[in-house]
């Protein structure tokens, strides 16, 4: 009996986290009572017109660049026509033949075996609304209408459920990394359709495929692939002809079921949307968007532990939070002591709220000894409250450390003279005794002494005794 392999391509829909919807000014985030986040435009009222949100294009292009795509110079929006109660205009504005991004890839590794999964295209489109069924009848909630989506279509390069899972995980990581979506499958901001056919191992041809729609977890993707592969092999071996059809997966029964066969499929009557103008992206636009891209996660990790000399755990903690890592990278450009900067940032639970310049200023002030290691906490609190510049706050709060060596020396002399017991203990080998002396110096100087410098001077004086 022949051995079979599955040939799999994935279509992934991801919600972009732009502030507003793709064609109007309504907020794009989740939540709200039904039909409270919509306007005449996204509800498709007669006479309204779409206006493309440029940020959607920027986000999609960033995702495309992150996934190694070629970015279009000319792109356009098309109408996909079909009737459904959650689609107010009875057409979805999408892209047919000039997607924003094409020919990308995602590299994966499964059980030590590396492979490259091609990305055919990435296009932008609007989400539909959602139907709400109640006892008194069905209603349409238009809050989701016009939420921006990217659809990422892979080549049929995937052979196993494990590869599909690895592809989706890596895709999610990269898209999150460039900051355009949170890709939360359980919340529906990332959804997956599986296209799958089977063939005898070694046969290069492609056979009739089935599309399994709307999978909303990695687990259901894996389950659907295994179930559908088994079904197709069974059908083929039983001598049945497979139909090109759309199926759904029931995770409880672990089976796929027919939704519709191709003969009954919609003819979407695509054509260019005459209400929108073509999207033109110049070389300068490409360069500007590319400059905004972060390094790849592993490149960044390597940079943090290598060039920056951060401990592995610190680097990893930063990289686990792309927004924080972006902030750190930006601040690190003007800070010499990267580790000090990282520690300062990781000590603050809401570090991402503070601009990179502020972090850089704080780290450099600590590094130069102008303020103490504990001053940033006070300064950040004051900054959050007032929004004033850090140097002004340092003055105001009297956090500047004294580096007047002459003053330090005379205070050290006084302290030594006034504390013979501690001095004797230190000379007898009790190193901890120096802390008591340091405490006295700090007390006399009301905390304004630079501890490193004070310790240094104290030690020198004690050594000479």
């Amino acid at each position: 009996m022949a051995k079979y392999e599955s040939v799999i391509g994935l279509e992934v829909h991801i919600e972009l986290r732009t502030k507003t919807k793709i064609f109007c000014d309504c907020p794009a985030d989740h939540g709200g009572d039904p039909n409270t986040r919509c306007c005449p435009v996204c509800m498709g009222m007669p006479g309204t017109l779409p206006v493309l949100n440029k940020e959607v294009v920027n986000f999609a292009v960033r995702a495309g660049m992150m996934l190694g795509c070629e970015i279009a110079h000319f792109s356009k929006m098309d109408r996909k026509n079909y009737f459904y109660p959650d689609l107010p205009k009875a057409y979805q504005i999408s892209q047919l033949d000039h997607p924003l991004c094409e020919h990308g890839y995602v590299d994966i590794e499964v059980n030590g075996e590396k492979s490259r999964i091609g990305i055919t295209r990435i296009h932008i489109e609007e989400d539909a609304g959602k139907l709400v069924h109640t006892e008194s009848g069905s209603g349409a909630d238009c809050n989701r209408c016009g939420v921006p989506l990217i659809e990422i279509v892979s080549e049929p390069d995937i052979r196993t459920a494990a590869q599909a899972k690895a592809y989706l995980e890596r895709l999610r990581e990269l898209v999150r990394w460039c900051g355009v979506s949170d890709c939360q499958m359980e919340l529906g901001s990332m959804r997956c359709d599986v296209n799958l056919s089977v063939r005898p191992v070694g046969d290069p041809n492609l056979y009739t495929r089935a599309e399994i729609k709307n999978l909303n977890s990695l687990k259901s993707v894996v389950g659907a692939i295994n179930a559908e592969k088994a079904r197709q092999i069974d059908e083929t071996q039983a001598g049945h002809t497979l139909l090109q059809e759309t199926r759904r997966y029931d995770p409880e029964k672990d089976k796929t079921y027919t939704m519709r066969v191709k003969e009954n499929a919609n003819d979407y009557r695509y054509f260019p949307d005459p209400d929108l103008v073509p999207i033109i992206l110049t070389d300068e636009d490409h360069a500007r968007l590319r400059a905004m891209l972060p390094d790849l996660p592993e490149e960044r990790l390597a940079k943090y532990t290598g060039e920056f000399g951060l401990p592995a755990a610190t680097a990893q903690t930063l990289c686990d939070n792309p927004a924080l890592a972006n902030l750190f990278s930006a601040a690190a450009e003007s800070v010499k002591q990267k580790k000090l900067l990282a520690n300062l940032m990781l000590a603050d639970a809401r570090a991402a709220e503070i601009p990179a310049e502020v972090w850089a200023v704080l780290a450099n002030l600590v590094d130069s000894g102008k303020i103490s290691r504990s001053a940033p906490e006070k300064l950040l609190a004051a900054y959050r409250e007032t929004g004033r510049e850090i140097p002004a706050l340092v003055q105001e709060l009297g956090l500047e450390q004294v580096q007047d060596t002459g003053l330090l020396e005379s205070v050290a002399d006084e302290v030594i003279a006034a504390n013979p017991k501690a001095v004797a203990d230190y000379k007898a080998g009790k190193e901890a005794a120096i802390k008591a002396l340091m405490g006295q110096i700090m007390k006399r100087m009301k905390g304004s002494a630079n501890p490193q410098e004070a310790t240094q001077i104290l030690k020198e004086k004690l050594a000479k005794l």
């Binding site: 005449p40 007669p46 006479g47 109408r79 026509n81 009875a90 695509y270 054509f271 005459p274």
Partner: protein
């Protein structure tokens, strides 16, 4: 006193001098409508209350010295342009009771200018037609000959201006829907350059062709109204970012050196001899004003009609898909499932012509036919745009008939959609090219015992409105 017989310039002078108030003008116009409209049928909705409120607001503006050219001037709005709180039907059963929640850009502009909206005018359903006979709601008669059609689709707007039931009216033109009824009713109608008047709030028929424009009693009035409604609007992606809106600037300047071409294809078979004669007379008048008139040729115009019908039906099939009975408008009774809801609602809610064009549009866009129809038609459109461009390298303007014939009798052509479509042959090339063109009255033709108005058309390159108005005004003043 019937103030609505007067033009904008005259009335504006009276208003500025406070010899008449905006409220008196509005009341006078409402009286004219009450007297005449049962016979003409121009209005679908008379918005008496809002008209008087707007008139009072206009009087306040005038009192404060804030009035402009249109402040206090009563006008009529075509019923496919949204007016917040005033029903907007598109002359369709589908939207018979629809109250828009927002104003169209043009509605906002006219409100801001202090113009006073009297009501909403009849039209062919969703602007599909050339006689206003496709209105699902009422018949409109040609004021010059009441058993004749007013033209269409802006037939109500043209009839309202011609019958002095308003001072000016707003129409929309997808394939001639301002110019042809202007010609049939004997008023001035302008279809401006595509992108110079926002389509926001214009219920779309064919988005890449639709353009709003004014219907007026005089050329100068027309330029004034266009100046008020033309602007960039960020809510319409096809609204152009920057252009000159001083449309009146050249009115009164003589035509010396202006080159006007007469494309011979517009004067061929099918053109009524009276129409050809009257348009040629107009050419002679323009020549006397200093214009250089020369016959020329635009062979590509032969592709215009089929290309137009393919493209506008394709766009319409998609634009009108939203009328599905789910969220607003008509919904059929006795529905058992979703498929039936769509099928019955759309079959009962749309008239024959609308359904015909939706079917045609869906056909040309369907898998396997797209390349043969839609794509070919786009290529023809590109070809025609190029041909116009070549001609405009030689000529400032082109002079043609507006319609092959004067107005016909109600019911005369409505049974034959093909014959009706042929009536658009002189006007659709302009929409394919996105060009500005005006219809100006140039005499009458004695038909069926009536004197039927005839207009000529002046076509210019994009943004040549000022020059078009210059030539049209020169013709008008020579009468």
């Amino acid at each position: 006193m019937e103030y609505t017989k007067m033009n904008i310039a005259e009335l504006s002078a009276l208003l500025q001098k406070r010899e008449v108030s905006a409220r008196e003008l509005a009341q006078d116009a409402l009286r004219a409508i009450a007297e005449k409209d049962a016979r003409i049928g121009a209005y679908l909705t008379v918005a008496e209350e809002t008209a008087l409120a707007q008139a009072d607001a206009a009087d306040a503006m005038l009192k404060n010295g804030e009035g402009g050219a249109l402040t206090g001037i009563p006008f009529a709005m075509k019923d496919n342009i949204t007016t917040k709180g005033v029903r907007t039907t598109c002359a369709s059963k589908m939207l018979e009771h629809w109250l828009p929640v927002y104003d169209a850009c043009v509605t906002e502009r006219l409100k801001a200018a202090g113009a006073v909206m009297l009501g909403k005018t009849n039209m062919d359903e969703f602007a599909m037609g050339s006689s206003t006979e496709n209105s699902a709601l009422q018949v409109t008669r040609n004021p010059a000959a009441p058993d004749h059609v007013p033209g269409g689709s802006s037939g109500g707007s043209a009839a309202a201006v011609a019958a002095d039931e308003c001072v000016f009216a707003i129409g929309s033109d997808t394939g001639g829907s301002i110019r042809q009824p202007a010609s049939f009713c004997g008023v001035v109608g302008m279809k401006p350059t595509y992108g110079t008047v926002s389509r926001y709030g214009l219920v779309a028929y064919a988005s890449s062709f639709d353009q709003i424009g004014p219907l007026t009693k005089t050329v100068a009035d027309n330029a004034k109204v266009l100046e008020a409604i033309s602007c960039h609007d960020r809510r319409d992606s096809t609204s152009l970012p920057e252009f000159d809106t001083k449309y009146s600037a050249l009115i009164g300047k003589d035509l010396t050196g202006m080159r006007i071409g007469l494309p011979k294809e517009y004067f061929g078979a099918g053109i009524h001899p009276d129409v050809a004669r009257l348009v040629k007379n107009a050419a002679d008048t323009l020549a006397k004003q200093g214009a250089e008139i020369e016959e020329c040729s635009l062979p590509a115009v032969g592709y215009a009609l089929p290309a137009y019908y393919v493209l506008c039906c394709a766009e319409a099939s998609s634009n009108l898909a939203r009328f599905d009975g789910i969220r607003y408008g008509f919904r059929a009774e006795g529905i058992e499932n979703l498929d039936q809801l769509y099928r019955k609602t759309r079959t009962q809610g749309f008239g024959r012509e609308v359904r015909r064009r939706i079917l045609l549009g869906n056909y040309v866009l369907s898998a396997g036919y797209y390349d043969a129809y839609y794509k070919k038609a786009q290529q023809a459109r590109t070809l025609l745009i190029g041909a116009f461009k070549e001609l405009f390298a030689k000529y400032d303007l082109l002079l043609t008939p507006v319609a092959p014939t004067p107005a016909y009798k109600i019911g005369e052509k409505s049974a034959d959609p093909m014959e009706m479509a042929l009536g658009d042959i002189c006007t659709v090339p302009v929409n394919l090219g996105g060009l500005p063109a005006i219809s100006v009255p140039c005499g009458t033709s004695a038909q069926n015992g009536a004197e039927l108005p005839v207009g000529f058309q002046l076509i210019g390159p994009a943004f040549s409105e000022a020059k078009i108005y210059q030539a049209a005004a020169a013709y008008e003043s020579a009468q």
